[in-house]
């Protein structure tokens, strides 16, 4: 009897000492929509309060308003037209020969801004990255390549350019309302992320680029503020910059 107990304890020790294997016999899954039940842990609200107070004092400032729901969609959208138009306007102020502006769809980081007041914070959410405006000299041939790249990516925000989206390629490209000339060089405003090859734009890296020391986000804020100064709402609309083949 004693011996048996000893055996058992030795066996137990051996079991504890090394890992006893297990295998998956069943699994199930579900997911929760966070905040749907209205429950919140107030210790986190308290933890955030000090950060939030300082943040809100700058971010909650209203800079203007939009009379249109701004939405992010492809191939063309109101949110994208707003961003590209603001970029083109800012670039033209520095160099009037800039003809168009292009930015990447993924660079816009919120799906919508509802009609109503626009705050500084909303602009930070839309364009949180510290990307700066850059003006690049783009040969017509490369611009065709860029438009095809945008078409393959289902359409990016742009201002001053229009094209027909057909089978993932850009046809009938117009720049500044004129048919593109492959032998011409165009001055295009974009962000430094794309100009340095981001979002698979490596074909842009060899081009001559002039950086403008201005964040895209600041450009958007200034654009909305300027409209308010003129008592105008932000009012971008879809104007078929990108058309589907009929």
């Amino acid at each position: 009897m004693r011996l048996r107990l000893l055996y058992i304890s030795v066996l137990l020790l051996a079991v504890i000492g090394c890992h006893k294997p297990y295998y998956i016999s069943q699994h199930s899954s579900r997911h929760y929509t966070v905040g749907k039940d209205g429950k919140a842990d107030s210790s986190y609200t308290r933890f955030l309060a000090t950060y939030k107070l300082r943040m809100d004092s700058t971010m909650q400032i209203v800079i203007g308003y939009t009379d249109t729901n701004l939405t992010k969609a492809q191939p063309e959208c109101t949110l994208g037209n707003f961003v590209a138009d603001a970029m083109l306007q800012a670039a033209k102020k520095r160099n009037n020969n800039v003809v168009a502006a292009i930015c990447n769809y993924g660079g816009m980081r919120i799906p919508y801004i509802n009609a109503g007041n626009i705050t500084v914070g909303r602009m930070y959410e839309l364009m949180p990255f510290d990307n700066a405006l850059t003006i690049i000299e783009v040969p017509g041939k490369t611009l065709v390549q860029w438009c095809n790249h945008m078409a393959a990516m289902k359409g990016w925000p742009m201002s001053g350019i229009s094209y027909l989206l057909q089978d993932g390629a850009a046809e009938d490209i117009h720049v500044n309302q004129q048919l593109i000339d492959e032998n011409k060089t165009y001055l295009i405003a974009t962000n430094d992320y794309l100009a340095t090859g981001g979002d698979k734009c490596s074909f842009l890296t060899p081009l001559k680029a002039t950086p403008v020391n201005l964040f895209i986000r600041e450009i958007l804020i200034d654009y909305v503020k300027a409209l308010r100064k003129d008592n105008k709402p932000l009012h971008p609309y879809i104007e078929k910059r990108i058309r589907y083949a009929e």
Binding site: Q26, S28, S29, V34, D41, S43, Y44, N114, G197, D199
Partner: protein, 310 residues
């Protein structure tokens, strides 16, 4: 079932219970079964507050206070809970512009995250910026395919970790996306990206076969799936043999239920991803049985519960 019956026949305890007319099979098997609950997030993008109440689709959803309440409720109901994040914790709200990630990482430590991996946007304050946040992280940062030699992150992250929970041994490793063309060179510095496929093969095999983990989890920021041949979670699942679950991110994919992919070993690898912004918390419940996996159990029984409210 067959094994259990023959075992019962052979033991006097089993015979005694049978004779007594009661047959507490479930409780008897209790010692042989273990449960694990995996909770997960991805691409929270600095969303510390809920989405604003602007009438939009996501209005009022998300936020750390609500997420923490949900997590503690689940921890109260389940014994073995793992809490994991698949990267892009940072960037997307003014919190990040102003505080460079400190409140995000501190809140995750408060919630008791067990591990995370790095997303491309976690480089947005520069590699040194991320390194400065690590003292606030009470959980390991796992990335197996980034070589951080000669960067501020050298020796500060790990390829994998092994967590022991209630007698289960869980191996967790991380995979990061190609940085070139996605993150500015100035931000990622000397970080070297290695192809995640051979890395995933080697580490998952090590965790399952050498370390004898009962389960292997991959935290991936590669993205769920692409139309091109870009490496994704689907690729990793198809090319490897020993990964049980891939908790994914990057593509902001709202999978209503996990996707089961037949892996290179003929077994199943489960892939899940819960969108972005912390509006969803994913939950995977596992039941383990002791012993070696019989071939029969290759095809796991799946019970998908699509309930979405907390």
């Amino acid at each position: 079932m067959l094994n259990r019956r023959s075992f019962l026949k052979k033991t006097s305890i089993g015979a005694g219970l049978l004779a007594a007319g009661s047959f507490p099979l479930e409780s008897f098997a209790g010692g042989k079964e273990k449960k694990l609950t995996i909770l997960h997030t991805n691409d929270v993008h600095s969303r510390l507050d809920p989405f604003p109440n602007d009438g939009g689709k996501l209005a009022g959803l998300g936020g750390v206070a609500a997420r923490a309440a949900l997590i503690s409720q689940i921890r109260g109901e389940c014994d073995n809970v793992l809490l994991l994040d698949a990267g892009d914790m940072l960037q997307g709200t003014p919190y990040f512009n102003m505080y460079k990630g400190e409140p995000e990482i501190k809140a995750m430590s408060m919630m008791g995250y067990d591990a995370c991996t790095m997303g491309n946007h976690d480089f947005d304050a520069g590699i040194d910026g991320f390194a400065r946040l690590l003292p606030f992280a009470k959980f390991p940062v796992l990335v197996a395919n980034y070589d951080f030699t000669n960067t501020p992150l050298e020796h500060k992250t790990a390829s994998y970790t092994i967590i022991k929970k209630g007698g289960l041994k869980i191996g967790i490793f991380g995979l990061g996306i190609e940085l070139e063309g996605l993150v500015s060179g100035a931000a990622f510095g000397n970080t070297k990206y290695n192809n995640p496929i051979p890395v995933a093969k080697a580490i998952s095999e090590k965790l399952k076969r050498d370390e004898k983990c009962d389960m292997v989890i991959c935290l991936s920021h590669l993205g769920y799936e692409y139309e091109t041949n870009k490496i994704s979670d689907k690729t990793i699942a198809k090319e490897t043999k020993y990964i049980d679950v891939i908790i994914g991110g990057h593509t902001h994919t709202f999978l209503d239920s996990p996707v089961i992919q037949r892996n290179a070993g003929g077994g199943e690898t489960l892939i899940n991803q819960v969108g972005w912004g912390g509006v969803r918390l994913g939950r995977l419940d596992y039941v383990f049985r002791s012993g070696k996996n019989p071939e029969l159990h290759r095809s796991h029984s799946v019970n998908i519960n699509k309930e979405t409210s907390g």
